[in-house]
Symmetry: C2
Subunit: 265 residues, 2 copies
């Protein structure tokens, strides 16, 4: 089972959009995909058209009350399941401050789950707090959505530092699978510079023992496309909303590449 | 002195870009502007070309050690000052958990400052935690940058709920000045729908006693413009980088409108 944390503490770079659409693209290739919404904003839950804040169990109950993961899981569509978020999750950080093993609560819930999946994809909030740490402890690989902007690139070193600490102290399996460029506007000078910086940075890490030594800059790039911003308002993935637009093609290409990675390893 | 918190817990909507460029636009109209970087990512600090993480006092020292605000203030350019962030700020939330009056530390530091300004503009991180609460407690008005996307609109009710709580319990002066549309792509169906929703929502609040009863949707809209994403890599505002591009025109227009509001009240 591949457990993927989709993370970047820089806000608004395409984390939620990637978990939703990459998840559905993998499901279309007959993979059973569980998605988990670890963001108190509950945007992944909204993106799938589920209502956050109901009395149904959510990821809040899994973390704070020990509710079994299966009891908090909703079936969304063929081969896609969701553990929804809840606004209460905003308080979880304070509630878990003194809980024993607070960083590995999600990991243990996934291990104990009865239903088995090919992929578990975790949507993290734009921070490096307890919720994101739970995502990193539960995952065996990380996908980093990145906007090819100067400010977008600045947070990478802090993010990789946090991933290294989690790998050393909590989860030795953790590796960075790759960086996916989102909202990409080819042809801008800025995009070219950022891509060159990033490629050079990843190549220098090859052969070292850092968690991103085998990370790749995915060839599949997610182009800026307003349909990707429209489909959440209908509670649909891009494949159910506009299956032939650039957004759908890009995420389908990313799914093929993500699947290919596994065949190599 | 107008104390403005620029806030939206949704990530990547243009908070930092607005504090930097609106700040410089107000300074160009002979207003003395203090900007404060409350985000551990230190993007406002980077945007002004200052180096975060040096031994120089930062907003971390002001909040956690009681360093006077004037001692942590840097002069950036004519009429613009900055209290920089520091990566250590990421730990401030945990360090301040049991501090007495932890929400009003910034407010008191501004009140005690010797140097006086016309505007204090506070860049908040993408969350509603202790740092953002300090921003709301220190401000007398709020500007909400918003991306006209479905997911961008979802967080508004939670944001307004938090502002109401701060107004009731900590800071009775707090009012929402307005919402500024950022990264705007006119002509998309989505933008039209979001704008209509928002306008209707603000009009319904007129005459009530909620903190956004007098809030406006600023006429000045910040159009999507790659130059706004390029200028931070040079440590420059849009006015120093490309003074005649759409980004500069839009923020200049916003400054005129923000100044005009004061004359009415
Ligand atoms: N390729 C794209 N083209 C155009 N719009 C996009 C694209 N990807 C995402 N968006 C839109 O941009 C906004 C930010 O994306 P998203 O919410 O997925 O980012 P995020 O990293 O999850 O944000 P947060 O940090 O708040 O969790 C959303 O409104 C989304 O609909
Ligand atoms: N009008 C615009 N057109 C194009 N790019 C923009 C515009 N405004 C901001 N940007 C870019 O979009 C990205 C997000 O903007 P910014 O960092 O200001 O948002 P933020 O709300 O401060 O993000 P965070 O939630 O991470 O603090 C940055 O890379 C910025 O350079
Ligand atoms: Mg998200
Ligand atoms: Mg910012």
């Amino acid at each position: 089972m591949r457990r993927v944390a989709v993370i970047n503490q820089k806000g608004g770079v395409g984390k939620t959009t990637t978990v939703c659409n990459l998840g559905v693209a993998l499901a279309a290739r007959r993979k059973k995909v569980l998605t988990i919404d670890l963001d108190p904003q509950a945007h992944l839950t909204l993106h799938f058209g589920a209502e956050p804040g109901t009395d149904r169990p959510s990821v809040y109950d899994v973390l704070v009350r020990g509710t079994p993961l299966d009891d908090a899981t909703l079936k969304i569509r063929k081969n896609v399941w969701l553990v929804p978020s809840h606004t209460r999750l905003a308080g979880a950080e304070a509630e878990l401050v003194s809980a024993v093993g607070r960083d590995v609560l999600l990991r243990d819930a996934i291990v104990d789950a009865r239903r088995k999946y090919d992929f578990v994809m975790i949507d993290c909030p734009p921070s490096l707090g307890v919720l994101t740490l739970n995502g990193l402890a539960a995952a065996n690989e990380v996908i980093i959505p990145l906007q090819a902007h100067f400010l977008g690139l600045q947070g990478m070193s802090k993010l990789l530092e946090t991933i290294t600490l989690v790998q050393r102290r909590i989860n030795s399996d953790l590796q960075v699978g790759g960086v996916v460029l989102c909202m990409f506007e080819a042809g801008t000078k800025l995009a070219g510079e950022v891509v060159d910086d990033l490629r050079r940075f990843l190549e220098e890490a090859r052969g070292t023992n850092v968690p991103w030594a085998q990370a790749r800059l995915f060839d599949a790039v997610i182009r800026r496309n307003i349909k990707l911003a429209e489909c959440p308002s209908y509670g649909l993935s891009i494949f159910d909303y506009e299956p032939h637009c650039n957004g759908a093609l890009d995420y389908a290409r990313l799914a093929v590449e993500v699947l290919g990675v596994a065949d190599e390893s």
